[in-house]
């Protein structure tokens, strides 16, 4: 039996607020493999973003563990895990507004220590792949449209060359055609480059494009038939 790329084991996350305690996830377990694209779906408030935060190392579980190649990411260090193995595309607050698109991408490459590539050239390649026009690449990100910003954020995540890509509603602010293009990029990333792509989405189109769809309901993660 091979060790999965990412294994969630009995993950529970409880939030405390004053005297109230609210358990969002209850004993969630699942193993994610390389070269596959996963969709996590579920109604609002079901804990999708919490699950994404725990799996991507942005947060720590109340109980249970997240293992990367069999090693607990808490031992590895959440910062190190995020820096070297996992990248996340968020719903909002995606870009550094005082930088242009190219600077956002190259800056992320510098932080994550991507070596052996010419960073600016790679940034232009990725932005080109995601349909950002050359003239828009040197504009401050606040001057870009919501869809363009989202695509720059995806380019930045791709530039980090990590093993797992997390995306929280990545096509939420994109038109149908651009969204389809993005999904295609994700699929290629999983199938051609052997990465693991985990997408939290409400979109049926996105879910249908994934290899596996996982339903999060009442704190439990269940594969959808």
């Amino acid at each position: 039996m091979t060790t999965p790329l990412l294994a969630l084991t009995d993950l529970t996350r409880t939030y405390s607020g004053g005297n109230r305690r609210r358990t969002v996830l209850k004993s969630v377990s699942y193993a994610f493999e390389s070269g596959r694209m996963y969709a996590i779906v579920g109604p609002s408030g079901s804990g999708k973003t919490t699950l994404l935060s725990l799996a991507s190392g942005l947060d720590s579980p109340t109980t249970g563990s997240v293992r990367f190649h069999g090693r607990d990411i808490a031992e590895l260090g959440l910062g190190t895990y995020r820096n070297r193995h996992a990248a996340t595309v968020f719903q909002s607050l995606n870009l550094l507004t005082y930088m242009n698109a190219v600077q956002n991408v190259t800056s992320a490459m510098e932080i994550t220590g991507v070596r052996g590539v010419r960073r600016r050239e790679r940034a232009h390649e990725l932005l080109d792949l995601l349909g950002i026009e050359p003239a828009d690449r040197t504009r401050r990100t606040l001057q870009l449209s919501g869809g363009q910003q989202q695509r720059v954020a995806i380019a930045r995540a791709l530039a980090c060359e990590v093993d797992i890509l997390f995306a929280d509603e990545p096509t939420g602010s994109l038109d149908h055609e651009t969204a389809a293009g993005i999904i295609e990029v994700f699929r290629k990333l999983a199938h051609d480059d052997g990465k693991c792509v985990i997408v939290v989405t409400h979109s049926k189109e996105v879910a249908n494009a994934c290899d596996e769809v996982l339903h999060l309901k009442r704190g439990k993660l269940v594969p959808q038939d």
Binding site: Y15, V24, G45, T49, T50, F90, L93, S107, I111, C160
Partner: protein, 480 residues
């Protein structure tokens, strides 16, 4: 390097905020640097004043101490009876000369106050006679000052009196040498080298006969007093034309006392470079054999204080300003940085999600603030010299005006540290320093640089502690 690049992008990406931070730092650094410049200008002025005026230490008999010591009825070293308080109360010239040799004494002088009655050949200068019926017997005499060095007399030092013929009295002058005023010389037809005859200036005790012996003195110098005739009657002994300078022995002779190599002085003054040298002077005086219980040495640094008082107050104000501005600046900047951090939570969250280390996030903030501080320090260096000169001059002018007013109110009051007024007389008339020489030096820039960067570091690190507690999930996700 990444954090430096990000800091640069951030600073150039938000020019308005950058300018605001530079502006705030500029104000802080300019005020702090101005304070430093005023303080160093004041310190320089105080040093200069110390060198120019020094401080005058006075040595004279403390009668109460002598009585308490029980030495008041003893006999002198020569076995002579010393009068009612005994010879232990005599301040000997030989002792004072030994103290004058101390390395901390810049100038020394001693005085014997005396008087002399006129004779048939040497008459008083009285341009306006006494009103009819006024008894002027008690004041119709010359005022004689027995001195060690005419050049050390305040009137000659400050130019009120000048020698117009012959030479003055010096440490090696003979007992019978005198210097007289030009008008008195003219009145009596005296020239340098002539002999003037004077009588003892003490009125006889009741029942005793007056000492009518005439003592011959050689006129060795003639001086011109800066005080002109008033045109109305003044008692002879207070008329400046009747002021005669003699040696301490000569003055003793005119007091009816015998003169000798070790004459008795009334008081001695020692001008020191620095009031702090008094302790050293006391040690040297004790080593020379002085009994400092009976002949205490007291300092009179009033002239120095008059000179430096206003500029010192200005420097004190500048010091308070430096501290206030530094503390207030740190607080204001810390609040601004804290507010910036709050505003930049999203940015911090994104960088944390990329795996950026928290100290590096703090480092980026520090680099941004320090860059603004460095720019502001440079600008402050250019501007603060002018500002501190202008502000310093205004503050100093106000302090000088206050000091002058206080001095005018105090004029005429007796100084308890100088009961005979001799120390005061021996000093030049002091006017407060009323100009400030502000000079910007590399040390001042270094000081403000350290202060400015310290403020930057504190203002960044205190609120920056929050960055270290940040959790990227709290920033970037809604936590549904």
């Amino acid at each position: 390097m990444n954090l430096f690049k990000r800091a640069w992008w951030r600073l150039t990406g938000h020019p308005g905020k950058t300018l605001m931070l530079v502006g705030l730092f500029f104000v802080i650094c300019t005020l702090v640097l101005s304070g430093f410049l005023i303080r160093s200008a004041a310190a320089r002025a105080a040093d200069g004043a110390k060198k120019s005026v020094g401080a005058v230490a006075t040595m004279q008999l403390d009668v109460n101490a002598l009585i308490n010591s029980g030495k008041n009825n003893g006999t002198g070293p020569e076995g002579q009876r010393g009068g009612t308080i005994g010879s232990h109360g005599d301040l000997r010239r030989s002792l004072v000369n030994r103290i004058c040799a101390s390395s901390v004494v810049r100038r020394c002088n001693y005085t014997t106050d005396s008087g002399a009655f006129p004779t048939g050949s040497t008459k008083l200068y009285q341009p306006v006679p006494a009103p009819r019926g006024q008894d002027s017997r008690g004041t119709d005499l010359f005022k004689v000052d027995g001195i060690r060095d005419l050049k050390a007399v305040a009137a000659f030092r400050n130019g009120d009196a000048t020698l117009v013929a012959g030479h003055g009295i010096g440490p090696h002058s003979k007992r019978d040498e005198i210097v007289i005023e030009e008008r008195l010389a003219k009145r009596n037809g005296l020239k340098v080298g002539d002999t003037a005859k004077l009588k003892v200036g003490e009125l006889p005790a009741p029942g005793q006969q007056a000492d009518d012996r005439e003592h011959a003195f050689k006129v060795v110098g003639i001086y011109r007093s800066g005080t002109a005739d008033t045109g109305s009657y003044v008692p002879a002994m207070v008329d400046p034309a009747n002021q005669i300078y003699a040696t301490p022995d000569g003055a003793s002779t005119l007091l009816g006392k015998g003169a000798g190599a070790d004459g008795v002085l009334k008081q001695a003054t020692f001008t020191l470079d620095d009031p702090k040298d008094l302790d050293r002077l006391k040690k040297d005086a004790e080593a020379a054999g002085a009994d400092l219980e009976i002949f205490p040495l007291s300092i009179n640094d009033k002239q120095y204080q008059t000179l430096v008082g206003p500029i010192t107050k200005t420097a004190d104000f500048a010091t308070v300003t430096v501290w206030l501005v530094a503390v207030a600046g740190t607080v204001i900047l810390a609040l601004i940085v804290a507010s910036n951090l709050r505003e930049r939570r999203g940015e911090l969250g994104i960088l944390l999600s990329l795996g950026e280390k928290k100290p590096k996030l703090l480092g980026q903030h520090l680099v941004e603030v320090v860059a603004c501080a460095v720019l502001a320090i440079g600008l402050a260096g250019v501007c603060s010299q002018f500002l501190s000169q202008a502000v310093g001059d205004r503050l100093l002018a106000s302090e000088v005006s206050t000091a002058n007013q206080a001095a005018a109110n105090e004029a005429g009051r007796r100084d308890p540290s100088d009961p005979t007024g001799m120390a005061k007389k021996d000093q030049l008339e002091a006017k407060p320093i009323d100009a400030m020489d502000v000079r910007l030096g590399s040390a001042d820039i270094a000081k403000v640089g350290i202060t400015g960067l310290g403020i930057a570091a504190l203002a960044t690190c205190i609120p920056g502690a929050r960055v270290l507690r940040l959790n990227p999930r709290d920033i970037l996700t809604k936590g549904d």
